[in-house]
Symmetry: C2
Subunit: 354 residues, 2 copies
C-alpha cells in the first residue's frame, strides 16, 4: 500500500440539533469539545488518522457557513481541500463531489469516508482496522464498511448483516454483506444482537476512488452525470461557482441507499474499537468520566450538590451550581440555557426550534 495514495474524507455538514444548545446551527456538534478533552469532535476525527493519511490528503466536505470554523480547527488541512456544499443533499452527492475532486488530483487514491462527530475509544485498534481495510481496497474494487459488534439492542443505529460463512479471499476477517438493515424496533434489535452476523453500521466506508466513481456511474447515473460535467471546473478558480450552480440539482439521497444496498462487491469488516455516534445526551453520559454519583461534568467550574445521574455541559468560564437534581441535562452556551430530564431528551429538537 502506498501511503501517499491514502485519502481521508471527513463529512462535516451536520447540524446536531439533538444536542442543543451545546450544538447550534452556527456551531454544530462536530465543532465542539463535547467530551471536555480540549479537542473538538472533528479534531479528534482527524487525529485518529495521523500516520495513516498525510494532512495534504485530508478532505472536509461541509456547508459554506462552517468554512471558517474548519480552517480554524484543522489548520493542517489545505484550504483547497475544504469543499463547500451550497445546500444539504444527504451523503451521496457529498461523497460524489469529493470523489470526483480527488480523482482529478489522484486517480489511484484509496480513501476512508467518515462522519466528523463520532467517538472511538481504542485508537490503536481503530488504526489497525483502518490500515487493513485500506490495504484491502488499494488494489480491488471492494467497498468495505466498518461494522461494529453490537453491545446492546440499540434502535438508533442501522445494522449490517454479514455472510459469515465465506470470509473474503484476501482477509479472513472481512466478509461479504448479506443485507443492510434500517434502524430496527426494539424487538427486532433484540433478535439482531442474539445473532453474531449483525453489526452496527458505523457510517465509515473504505474504498478506492475508482470504485466509488464507477459505482455511482452505475447506480446513480444522474449524480454521476452532474460531476462528469463539472470535472473540467474542479480544482480551478471556477469550481465553487459551478458547484453552487449544479450541486443543488442532485437528488437528496444517502450513500447507503444510493450505492451500498445495490453494489455487488460490498464487504463488512467487523470491528470492536469502542465506537459511538454520540447521537444523544444519554449516549454521551455513558461515554464520559462520571463522579461516584453518576454525574458527568463537562466544564471547569461545575459544582453538584445532592445530585446524581446528571450531565452538565457548559462553556469553560461559566460557574454552575446545581443542588438537588436527579437525571437531568443542564447545558449552557452563550445566551441559552437548557434544563431537561434525560428521559425527555427527544423533546430537545422541538425546544431548539423556537
Amino acid at each position: 500500500m502506498n501511503r501517499n495514495n491514502n485519502h481521508l474524507v471527513i463529512m462535516a455538514g451536520g447540524v446536531g440539533s439533538r444536542f442543543w444548545p451545546m450544538s447550534t446551527p452556527e456551531c454544530p456538534k462536530q465543532f465542539i469539545d463535547v467530551m471536555g478533552c480540549g479537542r473538538t469532535f472533528i479534531q479528534l476525527t482527524m487525529d485518529r488518522f495521523k500516520g495513516i493519511v498525510p494532512a495534504e490528503n485530508v478532505w472536509v466536505v461541509t456547508s459554506a457557513k462552517y468554512a471558517e470554523i474548519v480552517k480554524q480547527q484543522l489548520p493542517e488541512v489545505p484550504e483547497e481541500n475544504i469543499l463547500l456544499e451550497p445546500c444539504r443533499r444527504n451523503t451521496a452527492p457529498c461523497i460524489a463531489y469529493v470523489c470526483w475532486r480527488i480523482k482529478k488530483k489522484n486517480p489511484r487514491a484509496n480513501l476512508v469516508v467518515t462522519p466528523s462527530d463520532h467517538m472511538v475509544v481504542d485508537q490503536d485498534e481503530f488504526r489497525r482496522v483502518i490500515t487493513e481495510a485500506l490495504d484491502f481496497t488499494a488494489d480491488s474494487d471492494a467497498i468495505v464498511t466498518l461494522g461494529m459488534k453490537p453491545t446492546r439492542p440499540e434502535t438508533g443505529y442501522g445494522y449490517i448483516q454479514a455472510d459469515l460463512t465465506t470470509p473474503s479471499l484476501r482477509h479472513k476477517s472481512i466478509y461479504r454483506v448479506d443485507k443492510f438493515r434500517e434502524k430496527p424496533d426494539l424487538a427486532t434489535a433484540k433478535e439482531y444482537v442474539k445473532h453474531s452476523e449483525f453489526f452496527w453500521n458505523s457510517g465509515i466506508f473504505v474504498w478506492n476512488v475508482e470504485t466509488i466513481v464507477n459505482a455511482l456511474r452505475i447506480y446513480q447515473s444522474d449524480i454521476a452525470q452532474v460531476f462528469e460535467e463539472l470535472m473540467p471546473y474542479l480544482a480551478t478558480e471556477n469550481e465553487q461557482k459551478m458547484i453552487d450552480e449544479r450541486f443543488p440539482q442532485c437528488p437528496s439521497i444517502s450513500i447507503d441507499y444510493a450505492v451500498m444496498e445495490k453494489a455487488e462487491e460490498i464487504f463488512v469488516f467487523p470491528a470492536d474499537f469502542g465506537w459511538s455516534d454520540v447521537g444523544t445526551w444519554g449516549s454521551l453520559i455513558t461515554l464520559v468520566d462520571k463522579d461516584s454519583d453518576g454525574n458527568a461534568k463537562i466544564g471547569n467550574r461545575i459544582e453538584l450538590h445532592d445530585s446524581k445521574n446528571c450531565i452538565v455541559h457548559t462553556s469553560e468560564e461559566k460557574r454552575v451550581v446545581v443542588q438537588g437534581l436527579d437525571g437531568y441535562i443542564i447545558a449552557e452556551k452563550d445566551d441559552t440555557l437548557l434544563i431537561c430530564k434525560l428521559s425527555e431528551e427527544q423533546r430537545i429538537k422541538e425546544f431548539s426550534q423556537d
Copy 2:
C-alpha cells in the same frame, strides 16, 4: 408640616448574599430589578416618596464601591447626598453619620430612614402612613417605627410589641412600644400572631434629626462623639477623608439595639400596606405574578415545560428552557448559574462563598 424639612435616608450598604447569583457583592439586590418591573429596588424605594420628600432631600448611605451604581440609578439625588461608608458597621453608625450630616444642613429636618431593598404593594396606604408619621415627629421628640400587621408566623422578622391600651395623645393609631422582640422560633411566632399587639419590625423609622442626634448622644456616646468631632468637616472637601479615618472606629451595632430598645419616647405605627423585606426566594415567589402552574418568570425569554412552582430569574437577553422541574430556583447572571430546590435555599449563602 413643612415639606421642605422632610428628608429621606435610604440605607443601601447591604450585600444580599441570599439571592446569589442574581445578587452579587458587585451588584447586590437593592440595585437589581428583582421584580422584573423595569425599576430596581432602590429606585422603587425612592419612587414611593415622590411628593413627600423633595429629591434634593434624599440621602443614600452606601459602600464606596456602589457609589457609581447609585449615581446611575438615582440621577435626581444630588451627588453630595450620597454618603460613602468606608466599611460596614451595621445601622447605628450609618444613621449617625447621615443624621449629623443632615443636621449641619438643616437642624429642623424631619426624616424617614428606610432600607433600600424592601417591597411595598399599596403605595397610597404607604404614603398616608409616612405622611402622618412625619406629621407626628415634626414637632416632637418621638421615634416612630412602622409595625406591619403580621399575616403569618414569620420567623425571619423581628417583632414589635405595642401597648395598645394607650394610644398616643396626638394620633389615635400610634402606640407606645412595650418591647422589641428578636426573630422568634416558630412556636413563639405562632403565639405572637394570635395576639393583636405584635407587629413585624419593618426597619422603617421616622423621627426628626434633633431627636435621633440626642438619642445617640445619650445611648451611644462613643458613636456620638465621633460625629461631634467630625462635624466641622462634614459638607467640606475633607469630609470623605475624615470619615474614612474615623468611621471605622465606631462599634458595629444595629440602630434597634443601640437606640430603639433603650429610648423612652418610642412609638409604633401599625400599618398594612403589603410589605415584605423580600429576604428569600421563597418570599419573592409569593410577591410576583405567576402562571397557572405557579411558576414565576422574571426575564424575557423563559420557557417552562412540564414544570411548576419554579422561580426563574435571568438577565433579559438570556434564553432559558426548563423541562420537568417542580419547586426549583433557577437564577442566572453573567458568568454564573444556580439551580437549587426552593426548600434548600438556605444553602445558597454557602454556595455563593466558593
